[in-house]
Symmetry: C2
Subunit: 112 residues, 2 copies
């Protein structure tokens, strides 16, 4: 998933859900480009990680899908379901707690 970083394991679902909470709907390739842009190319979301993650979120009922043909190419748009909208709140809180704990464990609190 990352250029040289093991740390993002487990954060992918939260990242996807959060992007969809602020973008209404997105398709897979768009998500990879968005992540790349936000992190200035430092975090490269691989298809092998993204698509299975999207399929799992859909299977879990957190995402709705709509397939469209744009310029002869198929796009599969994803958006948050009702469940997804609730879950993203939990996931973001967990991420905040995680970061707080990690900052304490690694003595990084002083940098803020």
């Amino acid at each position: 998933m990352a250029v040289n970083n093991e740390l993002f394991k487990g954060t992918l679902q939260t990242i996807i859900l959060n992007l969809l909470s602020e973008n209404e709907r997105m398709y897979g390739y768009e998500i990879t480009q968005k992540v790349k842009a936000i992190t200035k190319g430092e975090l490269l979301l691989k298809e092998g990680a993204l698509y299975p993650a999207l399929h799992k979120l859909e299977a879990d009922g957190l995402l709705d899908t709509a397939t469209e043909v744009v310029g002869n190419r198929v796009r599969k748009y994803y958006s948050l379901s009702k469940s997804g909208e609730k879950e993203v709140v939990n996931k973001l809180q967990e991420a905040k707690d995680f970061i707080a704990h990690l900052q304490v464990l690694l003595n990084l609190k002083s940098s803020f």
Copy 2:
């Protein structure tokens, strides 16, 4: 590893190395208790995660060990090797970058 959190995957080595960078030497059980104390019981480091991680760090030459008998019980003390002292600096920088990226990706920047 965590009470209800998948997110710490990949951070264990960094946590161990950082604890040893500020404690001279520690043994396994002591590390589990320290993590528990720092996170107020919210992050429980399991033996099944800790001991293999310690063995790997030792095998990679990042940790030195010294076995001692304390009150009829065997303790295996771990300390940073020269390599470990260098590596902990890298790992901490990676963790800082990781947190920064994650805060941007999840729109958490505003909380600081």
